[in-house]
Each structure stands twice: as structure tokens, then as C-alpha cells.
């Protein structure tokens, strides 16, 4: 049963210090002196900021590149991850992505043990957004607030945060007090503001409206420069490549994020490729997000974080694609 507390903003850094002293590794958004917000390990609570980061927390549980196991003298040695982690200050679009990754990587016939290792010891302290961000469109999907999948969820209500607690693991009476009905109402209002500020996209039945044969794919394909950013920045992309590296008498099996916009992603033996051009690769990406995953899992593989829009060098915009197939112009 979920309980509701509140914490004064003044106490936030002290609370973070407390958690650090308890031996947790804390990961969260920090502000660099050059002004960017980056999700990284936090050693000093002063660095924490309540802002959406450029990268988000995916790489903490699913790194860009990781060793799956080592092979030495006929034995497989599994990697370990003993860190007790708190991902502090995540955004709803990011943790909703975790839920989708869980469905694919943990709930099928085979479990992805590398992912499970890091995912299972990561406690989530989510910060629901109370302001619309520039490229985000989360209200088209789950919205700015999580329903579950967290330990604590913070919602900005002015001088305090309202705190929803799924469990008492991180609740310390010294920092948390009871929340009033008024606080809860204020939190709801603030969340509703995001719905008011953000454009809702015509997502309904998009899987039926989208077309394989359409000029839009060639048009966007002409612009795409195959940088991979839409995949690398996405909280829901899970494709990877696997390869071995030999160092001395040890072999490392490594996996690395892959990108479906790259030619080599779907290249077959003899350099045949069913997705030879950018247009067909863009179809793959958008169909995976808006059609295939819906058919297989019942929901769209997108949380509306807007990172693929922000990081695309040539401004290919999933919002435009959704609107276009719902009868809009491009």
C-alpha cells in the first residue's frame, strides 16, 4: 500500500548525505560547471539538481558497453555487481523505459542476466515532472508521474516535495513528515499543469494508420546521417551487438549498444541487406516503436522523453511522424 509523506527542499541534500553515509551508491542528475545536466554517480550531494538530464539512467543498468563474462582456462567467470544503488532524481519517461526493458529482457523465456544484475540492485527514487520540457511528449503516453515501479516518488509542491512511498525502505522520520490533503491536491494540480502545457499527439491507432509505402521515409532518409543518436539516447531501445575480445589468455565476451539506423545492423552474410537504405531503416525504427512492440506487448515502445528529437542532428521528429500519419502535414 502506498503511503504519502513530504520533505522540505531544504532537507534534500542532508537526506542525500544520509543515504551516502548508509553506504548506497547514488546516481542522479548533476549540473556541470559548463551548465549541462548529466546523469552520473554522485559523490557530493551539492552537485545534485532536480532537472532532466541529457542522458538519463539507462546506462547504469544497461551500459553502452559491458563485459558479460570472461573465459579463462576452460572456465566461464561471470561478472559481478555488488553495488547497492539508488537512482535518485530519475524522470518518469526514464523509469517507464525501465519497465519496458524489463518486459523484454527479464520476462521472456530467457533472462538477460547482465541486465538483471544491475537492475535488481537499483532502487528508484523518481521525480515526477511538474513542468513540460521542450521536446517531451509524455502526456501522449504514461504522463509525467509513475503509477508504480519506484521506491519513492517526489513531486514538487513549492517549498516541499510530496513523497509517494511504495515501501518504507528509504523513509527516515528525521527527514519526512506527514503530508496533508492540501499537499496532495497541490501535487495533483502541478502534475496536471504538464498535461495543460504539453501537446497531446494523435497516437490512437497509429499502428493502423502508419504506412510502409510512403514518401515520408525517403524524405527523412535523405536527411538522416546515421549517427545512431536516436537509439543511443532512447530509454527504451535495447538492441545490442555481441563480440569477443582476447587479451592474453583471457577472452572477454562484450556487448555493446547497437543502432538500427546503421547499415551493419541488419546486414547478412555476403553483404546482402534487407534494409539497404536509410528509408527502410527508418521504417524499421518507427515500426518497432509504434507497431511491432504494440502487437507483441500491447503498448507503444516510447515514453515521450523527446531525446531522439533533441539529439538528432537533422531534426527528424517522431512527433511529426505520428502527426503525419494521423492526417497532418510534414
Amino acid at each position: 500500500m502506498m503511503k504519502v509523506y513530504k520533505i522540505s527542499k531544504d532537507k534534500l541534500k542532508a537526506y542525500l548525505s544520509y543515504l551516502l553515509n548508509k553506504g548506497y551508491s547514488i546516481y542522479g542528475p548533476v549540473k556541470t560547471t559548463s551548465g549541462d545536466v548529466i546523469f552520473s554517480k554522485i559523490e557530493d550531494p551539492e552537485h545534485f539538481v532536480d532537472e532532466k538530464s541529457t542522458n538519463g539512467p539507462k546506462s547504469v543498468v544497461f551500459p553502452e558497453r559491458e563485459i558479460i563474462f570472461r573465459y579463462r582456462e576452460g572456465k566461464i567467470i561471470e561478472e559481478k555487481s555488488d553495488e547497492r544503488r539508488i537512482l535518485f532524481g530519475t524522470r518518469t519517461c526514464e523509469i517507464e523505459g525501465f519497465r519496458m526493458l524489463d518486459d523484454v529482457l527479464l520476462k521472456g523465456k530467457y533472462k538477460d542476466i547482465s541486465y538483471e544484475r544491475k537492475r535488481s540492485n537499483s532502487i528508484i527514487v523518481n521525480f515526477a515532472c511538474t513542468k513540460a520540457c521542450k521536446y517531451g511528449f509524455c502526456t501522449t503516453f504514461q504522463g509525467p508521474k509513475l503509477k508504480n515501479g519506484f521506491s519513492l516518488q517526489f513531486i514538487d509542491i513549492g517549498d516541499d516535495y510530496l513523497v509517494e512511498a511504495m515501501n518504507e525502505e528509504l523513509i527516515v522520520p528525521e527527514y519526512f513528515t506527514e503530508a496533508s490533503e492540501e499537499d496532495i491536491k497541490k501535487a495533483e494540480e502541478n502534475i496536471n499543469n504538464v498535461y495543460k502545457e504539453m501537446e497531446q499527439l494523435p497516437i490512437k491507432d497509429i499502428e493502423k494508420k502508419i504506412k510502409f509505402n510512403d514518401e515520408i521515409w525517403n524524405k527523412l532518409g535523405n536527411y538522416c546521417i546515421n549517427c545512431g543518436a536516436c537509439n543511443y539516447s532512447c530509454p527504451t531501445c535495447f538492441c545490442f551487438d555481441v563480440y569477443d575480445v582476447k587479451i592474453g589468455n583471457e577472452i572477454l565476451r562484450i556487448r555493446e549498444w547497437d543502432s538500427c539506423l546503421l547499415e551493419g545492423f541488419s546486414r547478412l552474410a555476403g553483404f546482402n541487406n534487407p534494409r539497404k537504405d536509410n528509408a527502410s531503416r527508418l521504417i524499421q525504427r518507427f515500426y518497432h516503436k509504434l507497431v511491432y512492440h504494440k502487437l507483441n506487448y500491447g503498448y507503444y515502445l516510447c515514453t515521450g522523453c523527446g531525446r531522439c528529437i533533441e539529439q538528432c542532428p537533422v531534426n527528424i521528429d517522431i512527433r511529426d511522424v505520428i502527426k503525419y500519419f494521423s492526417g497532418g502535414e510534414l
Binding site: 548529466i38 559523490e43 547504469v60 551500459p63 546515421n226 551487438d241 542532428p313
Partner: protein, 678 residues
Amino acid sequence: MGNTLNVNLTVCPFCSVGCSFYVVKNDGSYEIIPARGSPVNEGKLCIKGWHALDFVLSKDRLLKPLIRRGNSFIEASWNEALDIVANKLREIRDKYGPDSIGFISSAKATNEDNYIFQKFARVIFGTNNVDHCARLCHSSTVEGLIRAFGTGAMTFSISDIDNADLIFIVGSNTTEHHPIIGSKIINAVKKGANLIVIDPKLTKIASLATIHLQNLPGTDIPILNAIANILIKENYVDWEFINHRTEGFDEFRKIIEKYTPEYASKISEVPEKQIIEAAELYGKSKRTIFFYAMGVTQHIQGTETVEAIANLAMLKGNVGRESTGVGPLRGQNNVQGASDMGALSDFLPGYVRVWDSNAKERIEKIWNAKIPEKPGLTVTEMFEAALEGRLKAMYIIGENPVVSDPHPELVRKALENLEFLVVQDLFLTETAKYADVILPAKSFAEKKGTFTSTERRIQKVHPVVNIEGPLEDWKIITLLARRLGYDWNYEDSDDILREINLVVPQYAGATPERLEEHPFGLQWPVTRDGKETKILHKDRFTRGLGKFHAVEWNGYVETRDSQYPFVLTTGGIYYHWCSGVMTIRSHILYREAPEAYVEINVEDAKLLNIKNGQYVKVKTKYGEVKVKAMISEDIKRGVLFIPFHYSNVPVNELIGYHKDPISRIPEYKVVAARIEVI
């Protein structure tokens, strides 16, 4: 950056655009995050940028100095290795004289590394035999733009692209080699800007062009002159600008009269009508930006082609105003900086000519040394000298001439001919295999220092990865200097930058402190009080008046004939970098482009009965390679293209011996060739 943060800022080590990114270390793995705050990349990166740490973290990194023992190498301590290098270099200098040693610096190293290395050559060894790969990519830019404008660098800023109404590209595959600039051009075109591209290949950027002039390689000058001719005839020119800001116009005008569209069309194989249309489009545009790259510079008339572009820009007053100008797209991440630092055989730091005794006196005072007046040997001349036995030792930092220079077979012989060779690198490269001592260097990701991008932006990098063993290039040189009896006390790259602030006027105000305050850099010239310069030549050209050059096309040095009916041209591709050393060590980048190919037009292939993927031989007068054929509709008929990244298809063995007489850049882009089915 605060030290306690687990995130640090650095600059991409590949091309010269100067994109910033952060690196985060999480529980043993690294993540690259593009910097939103950077005015250059604005939170975006290309595929190479996203994979910029792959080679850094490669298992192949050299961690300890290596010393030759017969045909193999043994590991040595730094003390041991440095003693050998210092003693041997001293011995050779004393025995054969200062000019018996050649120093090749690196456009991948920082400004501080380059500055120290050229000072090492000039002050301690008393030779101007110091050069770097700008000689092979943009020495013609340095010469051409200094002659035309007075400064050998991009005249505007990357952000100027946004508001240009015409972007005019000559010989640059922009989306592959400078992808973030390429993407900005794409975005400008989407917003309505016009785009003219001169290129023998239908590149991605050419496919988006308003007009694509698909010419034969090496025929840019006649096209550029013909456009100038039309502009003057149709009175599209800015007379006020020409009269008040330039000189040499009349002579130029006389020369170009014979460059009619018809004449240019005959040489270049571009339809006359297209040349006229391009001239009209340019004539009617108000703010034009010119970009060019190695398709212009790597020619026997490289310098003159640069001058021809400068002519065209000046005709319409397209220099010194916002969203106008001439933009060389430099190759390496720090080739601008390495040139600024005087890692060139004829220039001291800040582009002071080595023979200009008045100007160099200031530097001699700071260095407390006399600098020889005789220009040194260039990169390619060093190998010629080594072959002839005039050069006895070489010290090469971060370059792989056995793959990247013309005629690798001669480079190999030259290296074998040396009495002593030091190679300082990250990897045991094809070149390092010839060394007597190999010194392991830190990569960009492990050190502090500054890089200067193609838009003259001086940016500070910070260590983002820690690898035990290698040292900074400047540190290694400093340790050697001390062994050679010089009291060099640089403790930190900032100490060197402070000296650069004194020596190089363009860098006067780019102090270590100021660059910390401006994490995304300052564009030179930076005045002593910290004012940067977005646009050069605003009210006057650096040289006073802009100079029109009466540039003529000299005809092909290599004529196609029945025996060699194709023009072979070389270049790079999106996923790789230079001699491939950095990018073949990235799993994804290598996977994307694992092997070399020769691109041939579909009609030509049909005539020769060549099938896609089939092995063929490409032959020139100078050599031959075996390579897979790639049949394409994008390349002009009669032209072949082979990428230069692959050491197993050494295309540089196929090119000729011709050089631009002004900049001494080799002709990489035009050689008569034939293709044979095996």
C-alpha cells in the same frame, strides 16, 4: 570542472568541427554524452563521436616504452628509453649537423604538445625540419588564404550557416567528413537556403543540392573562373567592395575572360547550362558561405583553387560579413592548432615566416635562441631526404606515414634507411614497426590541453579516462629536453599555454583561466583582454586589402589515355579516420565498413563486365592494388574512387609524384588509372 564530479568535458578527437562531449564513468564502463551547451554541436554527435572512446580503451594500447632488439621489441622503463632517445639524437646532431634530423608533429596532439615539439626541434636541435600532416591536407589552404586574405583559416563561424541564403561547397563530402557541419547545412537547406555542390560524386550533400556540378576531379578552377566571368559580365558583382577592399582585380578580370561556360564545360564535363545556372544562383544570393575540403586542397593546383574560391567570394563582398565567408574544412581535430603553433617547416608559431628576421626576433627573445632562416623539410621531403641519406634520424609523433603518405613503399625504404627512428604513438602502427624506440603517448581522453577547431575555436580538454603507463606528448618532450641540458620547467600544460599566450598573438587572451571560464572555447584572435573573434576581415583584411589572384587552369598532369582511361581519386568515408588506426579498433565503426572497395560507375562496370563485389585490379603508372568492386550510380563515369583508410589496400601506392609547387601538397586526387578483371 569540479574535481569531485564523475563527469568531465572533452572535445571529439576525429574531425575538426570541434564537438564537445562529456564522459561519465559508471561502475567500470564509460558513457559519452553530447554537450547541449556547446554552440558547435548543440547536444548532437556523429557516429564517430559516439564511439570516440573505443580506440582509447582498446586492448592494443601501448603502455610501456619499447626498444628494438633485432627484429623485435623489448619493454623498457621510461628512464631507459628516454636516455637512449636523448643520447642518440644528440649524437646524430653532433655528427651530421642540425638538419640531419626530421621531426613530424601531430594534428591529433594538443596545441601545447605541438608548440613544445616544434620548439624542441628549433631551439634544441637548431632545425626547421618540423612539419605535420597539414602538409598533406590543407597546406594549400594556409598558403592560399594567407595570400588572398592574410590569414589561413575559416573566415566565419559555424553558427553563420543558419542564416546564409546560399551554401557553396567545393570538394567536400561534408556529411561524411564533417558530419555536424553537414547536418547544419542540411537544416539550413530544409529552412530554404540554396545549395551548390561541386563534386565528382553524388554525395549525400550533393543529392540535397539545388545545383550539383558533377565534374571531373581536378577541374574546379575552370568552373570557378567561369562563374566569376559570368558574374562580372552580368554585373552581379559588388563594385564597392572590389574598389575599396581589394586589389588585383583588373589582372584577374583579364585572365578569366577566356573561361567561358563553354570552355569550362569542355574541361570539366559539367553541362554549360548548369554552370550558368550556378552563376546566376550565386549572383542573386545575398549571403553566401563557401566550404571546401580536400577535394580542393589535395591537388597540384591546390593553392590556386583556394585562391579561385577566395576570388569568387570577394567578387560579391562575401567576406567579413555575417553568414558569408570562406570556410576550409580542416581535416584533423587539431590541424588548425598544429598549424597555428608553427609545426610547419616554413612557419614559426603565429604564422611568422622562418626567414622574416624582423618578425621572428620577438620569438627568439622569448625563446632565448637563434632560429635558422632556412625553411625546413616538409613531411614528404623528409622521406625523400632519408632515401637519399641526407636525413639520418626522425622523430614521429602520432602519424602513420607508411599508410597515409604518398608512396608507402618509398616511405618504408626511407624509414629503413634511417640510423635512428623514434615513434611516439598510442599503438604499434605500421610506421612504429620501423622504429628503434617507441614511446607510448596518452590519447586526447587522458590529458589536459587545448585543441583548435576549424572555426578557430580554442577549447580545453580534460582527462576523462585514466590509463596507467603512457605520458603526455609535451611531458615526454620536456623530459628529453632536460636530458639534453635544457632547463625546461613546464609542470603542467597550462604552463605551456601561458607561453603560447606570449608567443602567438592570435592566442594572447586565451589563457588557461579564461578557457576554464569558457568551457566551449574562444575563437582566435583572442585579444589580451579576452575578446574573441567570430568573423575575420570585418573592416579590413588581415593583409590590408584582399587580393584577387589571376589563376589559370594548367591542364591535367596525368592525361587519361587508352591505356589508363579512368581518373582515380581517393578519399575518406564516414565510419573511418585517416589510416584507420583509430577506427578499426572500434567494433561498430569497423563493422560498418570492414573493407576497402573501388567505386565505379554502373555504365563503366557494364562495359568492362565487372560485377558488384568482384575482385579487380586497379593499376596506375605507379602501382596496383587488388580490391573489391563497388558498382554505383553516384560516381561520375570515367572516375574511380578508393578510400584511403585500409592498410591492406594501400591506395597511396597508386598516386603520382606531383606536388603543388606553392604548398608542396601531393596530388592525391587525380591519377590516370585502369581497372582489370581478375
